[in-house]
Structure formats: structure tokens, C-alpha cells
């Protein structure tokens, strides 16, 4: 792959805790933008941004329509909308049908980011109880990006990482604790 230009992260059931751990371990000098799709039942992600912000080394904000992805910032997909990345490296939203029962859907974020960043993208798929993200991981790898999937044995809910591994495989399959150090290594060189 080329030097990484962006990171996308997907998670579902058990995801909030996993994100807390992950974000606490990221180097605060990380220059790449990060976009996150985390399924949540709540109407807004205000609280999620606040909670995650308390542990994160980087700033956590809700992703804004049409805004550029900002380096060193964690952008959270708004609830009720699919979050997409355009080739111009700006965010777009849609209220298209749910994908794998989810909106925002990880596949939608990963697919669009894979095409926007091609071999400059790192995708991370964590714990979850459905199959969302599997197609997206496949698309990321097809476009030359790097896929990191949490070891299902280590995940709070293994279904999602397991489904991705079965469909698409991964470049790295690791326990959660090892993912932030790997991202730091890949992204700071």
C-alpha cells in the first residue's frame, strides 16, 4: 500500500467500549483523518462523541455533511444517515434504505472510502453482532487498502469480524489491544 491517507472504522454491538480502548491508544500526532461507523440505537451521537472524547487522544466530532475529512480528527457517522466519502475527500450523507439492517452502514462507509482513497486506506472492523462491514472489507482489499479485523476470539461479539474474515480475509487479524499500536506504526512512518 501507499502511505496511509485515511482510516475508517466499523463496529456494532460492544463497539463503544472497543472504540474507547482503541482511541485511548492512538498517538496524538496521527495525521490521518479517521471516520467511524458505529451502530447505535440513539437518535443522535452527541453523547457518543462526548464519551469517546473523554478517553481519546484525538478530537472526536460528528461527521458533517459536505465537510472535508480533517487530519488528526475522529469523525463519527451521524445516526440515521449513511456516511459516504467522496473522491474529493469530503463527506456525503444519504438516507437510502438500510444495509444489513443498519443506517449508518459500515459497508457504505467502507465501499465509498475504498474508492476515494484506494491503496491509501486502512479499514478496521471490530466487534459486532451482524454481517455489516464484510463487503466493505472486501472492497477495501480489492482497492489495495489494508484491512485490520479484530480477532473474533477477542471480540465482545464475534459475529461481525468472523463474517468479514470468512468473506474477505484480512491483512491483520489482531486482538483489540494490539490494533492501536499497529495503527500508530502504519500511520506515523
Amino acid at each position: 500500500m501507499n502511505s496511509p491517507q485515511a482510516i475508517v472504522i466499523g463496529c456494532s454491538a460492544g463497539g463503544l467500549n472497543a472504540l474507547e480502548t482503541l482511541f485511548a491508544g492512538l498517538d496524538r500526532a496521527l495525521p490521518q483523518p479517521i471516520a467511524v461507523c458505529c451502530h447505535t440505537g440513539s437518535a443522535t451521537v452527541d453523547l457518543m462523541c462526548e464519551l469517546l472524547g473523554q478517553h481519546a487522544t484525538l478530537r472526536v466530532v460528528e461527521a458533517r455533511e459536505r465537510a472535508s475529512l480533517e487530519g488528526g480528527v475522529i469523525h463519527i457517522a451521524p445516526s440515521g444517515y449513511h456516511l459516504l466519502v467522496e473522491a474529493s475527500h469530503r463527506f456525503a450523507l444519504s438516507v437510502d434504505e438500510r444495509v444489513s439492517f443498519a443506517r449508518p452502514s459500515i459497508d457504505v462507509l467502507f465501499d465509498s472510502a475504498a474508492e476515494a482513497y484506494r491503496d491509501g486506506l486502512i479499514g478496521v472492523l471490530l466487534t459486532g453482532a451482524n454481517r455489516d462491514g464484510a463487503e466493505g472489507v472486501a472492497r477495501i482489499r480489492h482497492c489495495g487498502g489494508v484491512a485490520i479485523v479484530q480477532d473474533p476470539a477477542d471480540a465482545a461479539v464475534p459475529v461481525m469480524p468472523q463474517a468479514a474474515l470468512e468473506l474477505a480475509g484480512a491483512d491483520h487479524c489482531l486482538p483489540l489491544a494490539a490494533i492501536a499500536p499497529l495503527l500508530n506504526r502504519l500511520c506515523l512512518t
Binding site: 458533517r64 455533511e65 459536505r66 465537510a67 451521524p78 444517515y81 449513511h82 459516504l84 466519502v85 467522496e86 473522491a87 456525503a92 450523507l93 444519504s94 438516507v95 437510502d96 434504505e97 457504505v108 465501499d111 465509498s112 475504498a114 474508492e115 476515494a116 484506494r118 491503496d119 480489492h142 482497492c143
Partner: protein, 289 residues
């Protein structure tokens, strides 16, 4: 990087991009429907979904059908439109319309409302109910428009899956509804049908925001989650259309996550409730479109 050198296995995303561009051109040249200024990522997703739904192998295959089979056009338009909606989605918005906008509308002898991109009509009926409960419906006229003809037909019918009723009832109450949503529909088998009296002051019409002009003088334009599908220039052009349609001091209500940061026309609109994306047209200078 972005070249086609070598035998790349399908689906190659670069090849797909070329095909999508040709598809969009074909649609425009052949039928006059112009999607060239839609936001590319979600447009591509929908085109690829159409390919799948048609059991076609490539985008080019459906482009060929589109060119040669006029009967295929409605299927394509239906596939590119996203008639996904809810009644009283974002209840806070409807509450704000009721509490902050309606009192101003009440000062007009005749109230014209343009609901652009009305999908299957969920928001049309939501508005009608609110107006009814505020005692304003008798002097209101709602123009509900969309370019998706089959969605418009469904909107007129006002029939929806009964499984949605529970969420919509909760939304209605959260929006400050003063009855029960069930008072406004009848349930039958797996379906609910909205009281057709709610339609008495609604005109459903086919209108394409890309190519059609202003057709009424509106006091409120409701256009939620439509401009998110437009790239910056088309978003800006459409805002110009709304500006030209609105009376001075008229209201514009967009989706709660929409951004006007890249639209020059936004200067004509003053936020009235910024969080809920309710704006007011303050002046008419600037003109044109």
C-alpha cells in the same frame, strides 16, 4: 494508479466509474433527466444496485437497455430516486414548525406550502395533521412534488405498512400531537391508510428540481433530505429556486444534518432555528438564479 493497464478483474471500480458516467449521459441525452450533478458516491451505489436488481452483469448492459427500451425508464428513475421517509421524522422539527413557524403563517389569509421531494408522502400527511390541529388547514394549500411518478402515486394513496405505525405514533406525540395518530388512519390487515380528508388541500405534482422552474409563491418550503443527494452547484441552484419561490420572510426547512456551508445562495437565508435547519428568507436582493 488509476489506469486500466493490465487485465484487472471485475468489478474494477475505475471501469465502473466510466460506465456510470456513460449511463448518466445516456439518461440525459435520451430522456432529458440530468443526474450529472448528483453527489457521485451515493449515485454510483444506486446505479450498481439497479444493475444487481436487473440481474445485469455490467452498468453498460443497463445503459443499452435504457437507450433502446423506453419502458425501462420508469424503472431506472425509481431506482435512482430514494423515496425513503417517515411520518414526523425528527419530531423536534415538527414541534418547532408548530410552535415557531405556524404562529407566523397564521397571519397570512392563505398559506402556501411547497414540499419538495415528498417521496411516499409521509411528511405531507404529517404537515396536514399539524396544520389541522393548529386550525390552519382550511386556508392552507400544500404543493407536494417529486420527480418520481410512482412515489407520487403512492403518496396520493396514503397507504403504508402497519409495522411503521408504532414508531410514527411515538414521533407524532414527541412532535406535540394533541390526539393519537390512530385517529388519522384506519388499519386493515398489514396496512394503514391515512384519512383521505387530510389530502383535501394537497396538490401532488411531478416536478424535477434539476430542470423545472418555480411554480408557486410559497410561505414555507419543506425540503428535507433531498439536497443531500446534490453536489454543491446543484444544491446552490435549488436553494435559488426556493428563494425565488418564497415570499419575503418565508420559511425554509431542510434536513437536520444538511449543510449550507458550500452554497453561496445561503446568504439569502437567516437561520431561525439553526440546529433544526429552519431558515427565513430576509430579503429579495441578489435575485436571479
Amino acid at each position: 494508479m488509476n489506469t486500466l493497464a493490465g487485465p484487472t478483474p471485475p468489478p474494477d471500480t475505475v471501469l465502473e466509474d466510466i460506465e456510470v458516467e456513460l449511463f448518466v449521459r445516456a439518461l440525459k441525452l435520451r430522456y432529458g433527466y440530468d443526474f450529472s450533478q448528483y453527489a457521485p458516491a451515493s449515485l454510483k451505489r444506486r446505479v450498481l444496485q439497479l444493475v444487481q436488481a436487473q440481474h445485469a452483469d455490467t452498468v453498460s448492459a443497463i445503459t443499452a437497455r435504457l437507450l433502446h427500451e423506453p419502458d425501462f425508464l420508469p424503472v431506472v428513475l425509481e431506482g435512482l430516486s430514494v423515496p425513503v421517509s417517515e411520518m414526523f421524522r425528527d419530531p423536534d422539527v415538527f414541534r418547532a414548525l408548530r410552535e415557531q413557524v405556524f404562529p407566523v403563517l397564521a397571519s397570512y389569509p392563505q398559506i402556501n406550502i411547497w414540499q419538495a421531494g415528498c417521496a411516499h408522502g409521509q411528511e405531507v400527511y404529517s404537515l396536514a395533521i399539524l396544520l389541522e390541529e393548529a386550525g390552519l388547514y382550511e386556508r392552507s394549500q400544500i404543493y407536494a412534488t417529486d420527480f418520481n411518478e410512482s412515489a407520487l402515486n403512492q403518496a396520493q394513496e396514503g397507504i403504508y405498512p402497519a409495522r411503521d405505525a408504532q414508531l410514527w405514533s411515538r414521533n407524532y406525540l414527541a412532535a406535540g400531537g394533541s390526539h393519537s395518530l390512530a385517529d388519522y388512519y384506519s388499519a386493515r390487515y398489514e396496512l394503514i391508510k391515512l384519512d383521505q380528508r387530510l389530502r383535501r388541500n394537497v396538490i401532488f405534482a411531478n416536478h424535477n428540481l434539476v430542470t423545472d422552474e418555480v411554480f408557486c409563491e410559497a410561505h414555507l418550503v419543506l425540503c428535507r433530505n433531498v439536497l443531500i443527494y446534490f453536489s454543491d452547484p446543484l444544491q446552490d441552484r435549488t436553494l435559488g429556486l426556493f428563494r425565488d419561490s418564497l415570499v419575503r420572510g418565508g420559511f425554509l426547512c431542510l434536513g437536520t444534518r444538511e449543510s449550507l456551508a458550500f452554497a453561496p445562495s445561503a446568504v439569502d437565508f437567516t437561520p431561525m432555528n439553526a440546529a433544526l435547519r429552519i431558515y427565513r428568507l430576509e430579503s429579495r436582493n441578489g435575485g436571479g438564479g
